[in-house]
């Protein structure tokens, strides 16, 4: 269980999260919803150790891991795919994959990791020696997502992974997320395609200006209410 208890966090002048409590049970899919700037990205940054909370506790499988460095949490099964493209643009696709596999360890590991990445996203197979920035946006996102699969993460935190991608690519990415979930990964999903996220989710949280304003099953949220929340329709 990945759990946050009364977490507050922010950047300098700007407190962003206020006493947020949420949990991601093992093997579950949790959707994290909220308008622009509500604090979703900040919440994921706290969960992966990129941002130390100013108050509150982060725990992993019952152990307090507040303040642990992100690379330690990554080794303990947390995989955060950050906003934007989570790839090293100047490195080759193969080097990117090597870094995913415990940061470029033995050659055998790398070969295995490449096989895994290509099996998940065949399109990557033809681009292994190209720099990641030469890939299309969708392929870059696939490369980023392949880390979750290669690292065999227990908890995958996904920040707007479908942003700016063509619908057909979005389909492929959601199919991959579905596979991850079936294989037993827990997903914490920040997603602009709210309906698709909710279709996949076991639980949903809605955060508004840094506080949790809804926690429950997706069915309890209705589309009109959400639309109102996002666009202000009445």
């Amino acid at each position: 269980m990945l759990r946050m208890r009364d977490v507050s966090a922010g950047y300098g002048h700007a407190p962003v999260l206020r006493e947020v409590s949420m949990w991601v049970p093992p093997r579950s899919v949790v959707a994290l919803l909220g308008a622009n700037g509500a604090g979703k990205t900040t919440l994921l940054r706290v969960a992966s150790g990129l941002l130390a909370p100013s108050a509150g506790q982060l725990s992993l499988d019952g152990e307090d891991v507040t303040g642990r460095a992100p690379h330690e949490l990554a080794r303990r099964g947390i995989c955060h795919i950050p906003e934007g493209r989570g790839v090293f643009p100047k490195l080759s696709v193969r080097d990117n994959i090597a870094l995913h596999a415990g940061a470029g360890g033995a050659a055998g590991d790398v070969a295995g990791a490449v096989d895994k990445a290509v099996s998940a996203f065949p399109a990557l197979g033809r681009k292994l020696s190209q720099p990641a920035r030469a890939l299309s946006g969708g392929q870059q996102q696939m490369l980023a997502l392949s880390r979750a699969y290669i690292a065999e993460a227990d908890y995958v935190l996904l920040d707007e992974v479908s942003m700016g991608l063509a619908p057909v690519v979005v389909d492929e990415i959601f199919a991959f997320l579905g596979t991850l979930a079936e294989e037993g990964c827990a997903l914490l999903l920040v997603e602009q395609y709210v309906s698709r996220a909710l279709a996949l989710a076991d639980y949903a949280y809605l955060i508004t200006r840094g506080s949790v304003t809804f926690a429950g099953e997706p069915g309890e949220l209705d589309a009109d209410g959400l639309a109102e929340h996002y666009i202000g329709t009445t």
């Binding site: 950047y11 300098g12 002048h13 700007a14 407190p15 962003v16 206020r18 622009n36 700037g37 509500a38 604090g39 979703k40 990205t41 900040t42 940054r45 992966s48 150790g49 990129l50 130390a52 303040g67 642990r68 460095a69 992100p70 690379h71 990554a74 080794r75 995989c79 950050p82 906003e83 934007g84 493209r85 989570g86 090293f88 643009p89 100047k90 490195l91 080097d95 090597a98 870094l99 995913h100 415990g102 940061a103 470029g104 360890g105 880390r147 690292a151 707007e160 942003m163 508004t208 200006r209 840094g210 506080s211 304003t213 809804f214 429950g216 309890e220 209705d222 209410g225 109102e228 929340h229």
Partner: protein, 654 residues
């Protein structure tokens, strides 16, 4: 081609070592975001360690070499990584001052311990010559070049093909993402610092036999690596090495070309700085990207209230007025301290008030001194007129220094001004028309004020006037614009200010004061010469000023007192010698402390460096991704806002 071959050989053998040093510099800069001005000082440390172990303690040279070049660097590297980690989120000035302070401390410590005169360095490599295409080349030089080339190639292979090399490239690309992928960026940076330090150490022991064991000279020779780094645009490692070779060849060719032109004699050794300055002036701005994040300065609460500050000012002037009665034969020391108050005041205006950086300040003061000597003694202008003109002549030079400030910011501005300062030192200082054929020009004091006491009061009047002028500027419209410029130039331009005009104005004003100070310096010491104004002095002055930065308006006074007066009160020479070490370390500590404050102010409480929002806000580096990253700095809200009850998901409370 046949005629050029000898120059190619000479150039490549000397350039290879610089290329290696430059690669180490660029590697640590790219991975840590901190440009290590102390890189050359580390080379000197290794050379001195070898000397100590081999010559002084009598160890066999291979053992001494092993200890100096292989064993020592890891210790240094771990320390450097720790220090630069603390600097990562600081302002550009703090990053520069920290390693400048470190350089000052190391060089001064070596001089204090081993003496300033060049010791002869053991030539541990065979020194016979072999003939290559008709010229004789020392075998030791060939070995040096070969070792450097081998190290460069080995490193390049390591960088491209090994797992650690991959991690290094990844930490350059995106350290945060690397940590998310399970690798500790700190460990990777430690590796980079280790290799960078190794390269510095190797170049140190390879260069020392050729130039002798002189801490300053060794440090400066590695400064030549800046030119090579510029050729690689401070980013590409192979191009950096190639830049080292290129500069070696250019210098060798220039030696041939300028033979017979006495005034150009200094051009070949200055070639690296010509390259540095030209690259920084001509390369498109977007190709020069500083790695890492920069913070704006954090606000500092004044140490004392305005009323107390006024009272202290009055008291200080009163003490200064009666000082000749109190200090007896030390008066000349206090008189030159007054000159330095003026120098620090001009630097304070530029660096602390306006947030600009210049490492060419000693050059401006030097030109003021030389101009004054020519005008007052040579041309025979009235004393006051010569002082005023000396100030005015320096103004356009200051504005030339401002030209890079328009194109460049931060580190690249600092390096461009440092390149300019080194050019002045190498090319202008030695020529007849600056400090004369003897290297020193007589300078006079005004008629009737020839005595030390009388001239002390002249200096006091100028100093009080200079401080008053800067205080006045600070309170005026220009002062508000300058202080705002230090905080956020982009915002200032979106409010309608032509910030380049403001930059040129402040560089010109600062130069005016520096020029006058130079004139007074010459008059006080009865002579104008290059010695007090070496380019390294600019670094020292900056470090000392920053050390007293927290004292705000009083910083120039305190800096001058500690730089000029305090060492003379030392009961032993040792104390005097070790003072600069204290300045250097002090500046380093203050810089690390300020970087920490700036980082906290910007809100980088992250476990890792590099807050994405800061990177994103650098306009021009913007992109869709940057825009998204900007969003990462979320907006907070105090209001309870929506209350969504389970089931209905409706907005309530409004």
């Amino acid at each position: 081609m046949g005629e050029l071959a000898p120059f190619l050989i000479i150039g490549v053998t000397s350039g290879s070592v610089y290329g290696l040093a430059a690669m180490g510099l660029v590697l640590t800069y790219k991975t840590s975001g901190v440009f290590n001005f102390a890189h050359g000082a580390i080379a000197a440390v290794a050379a001195f360690a070898f000397y100590e172990l081999h010559t002084v303690r009598g160890l066999p040279w291979p053992v001494a070499l092993l200890l100096a070049v292989v064993v020592l660097p890891p210790v240094v590297a771990v320390g450097l990584e720790r220090v630069t980690r603390g600097l990562a989120g600081g302002t550009v000035t703090t990053k520069i001052v920290a390693t400048v302070g470190l350089q000052l401390a190391i060089v001064s410590a070596l001089i204090a311990h081993y003496g300033g005169a060049g010791l002869s360095f053991p030539r541990f490599l065979p020194t016979e010559s072999v003939g290559i295409v008709g010229i004789n080349v020392g075998i030791d030089q060939l070995i040096s070049a070969g070792v450097a080339a081998a190290a460069a190639v080995a490193f390049f292979v390591f960088f491209r093909a090994s797992p650690t090399g991959t991690r290094m490239r990844a930490v350059v690309d995106n350290p945060e993402l690397l940590s998310l992928a399970g690798t500790n960026p700190v460990a990777v940076r430690r590796w980079a610092w280790l290799i960078g330090t190794w390269f510095a150490a190797i170049s140190g022991v390879l260069l020392a036999p050729q130039i002798g064991l002189d801490a300053l000279l060794l440090t400066l020779l590695v400064v030549q690596a800046y030119g090579a780094a510029a050729v690689g645009l401070f980013a590409s490692l192979p191009l950096t090495y190639a830049g080292g070779l290129l500069i070696g060849v250019l210098a060798a060719l220039a030696t041939n070309l300028v033979a017979g032109h006495q005034w150009l004699a200094q051009l070949p050794p200055a070639m690296p700085f010509v390259v540095l300055f030209v690259v920084l002036l001509l390369v498109p701005r977007h190709k020069l990207v500083e790695p890492g994040a920069h913070a704006s300065p954090a606000p500092v609460a004044p140490l004392v209230s305005p009323a107390t500050a006024r009272a202290l000012t009055v008291a200080a002037i009163a003490v200064a007025a009666v000082l000749p009665l109190l200090v007896g034969p030390r008066l000349p020391v206090y008189a030159s301290a007054l000159v330095f108050v003026l120098i620090f005041t001009s630097l304070h205006l530029l660096v602390r008030i306006s947030g600009q950086i210049s490492l060419a300040h000693a050059g401006l003061v030097a030109i003021g001194a030389a101009t004054f000597a020519h005008l007052a003694t040579g041309v025979g202008l009235p004393w006051l007129g010569a002082v005023a003109l000396a100030g005015l002549v320096v103004v356009p030079v200051g504005m030339i220094v401002a030209v890079p400030a328009i194109r460049l910011a931060g580190l690249f501005l600092a390096l461009a001004t440092f390149g300019f300062a080194l050019l002045l030192e190498k090319v202008a200082y030695p020529s007849d028309w600056v400090f004369g054929a003897q290297g020193t020009l007589p300078a006079t004091r005004p008629a009737g004020f020839d005595s030390d006491v009388a001239f002390y009061y002249v200096l006091l009047a100028f100093t009080v006037a200079g401080l008053g002028l800067v205080a006045l500027i600070t309170r005026s419209r220009l002062g508000r614009l300058l202080r705002a410029l230090a905080d956020s130039p982009t915002t200032l331009s979106t409010l309608g200010l032509g910030i380049n005009v403001t930059r040129i104005t402040v560089f010109g004003l600062s130069a005016l004061i520096a020029g006058v100070a130079g004139a007074l310096h010459a008059a006080q010491s009865h002579a104008a010469s290059a010695t007090p104004f070496s380019a390294l002095q600019s670094l020292t002055w900056l470090a000392v000023l920053v050390l007293f930065g927290p004292a705000r308006g009083a910083a120039p006074v305190l800096a001058a007192l500690f730089l000029v007066v305090a060492p003379t009160y030392g009961t032993s020479d040792a104390l005097t010698d070790w003072m600069p070490v204290v300045f250097g370390l002090g500046a380093l500590l203050v810089a690390v402390h300020e970087a920490g404050r700036a980082q906290r102010h910007a809100g980088g409480s992250t476990a890792q460096q590099g807050e994405p929002s800061r990177a994103a806000e650098r306009i021009g580096a913007g992109s869709a991704a940057a825009e998204r990253a900007e969003r990462a700095v979320s907006r907070a809200g105090d209001r309870p806002g929506y209350r969504i009850s389970i089931g209905t998901a409706r907005e309530g409370g409004r």
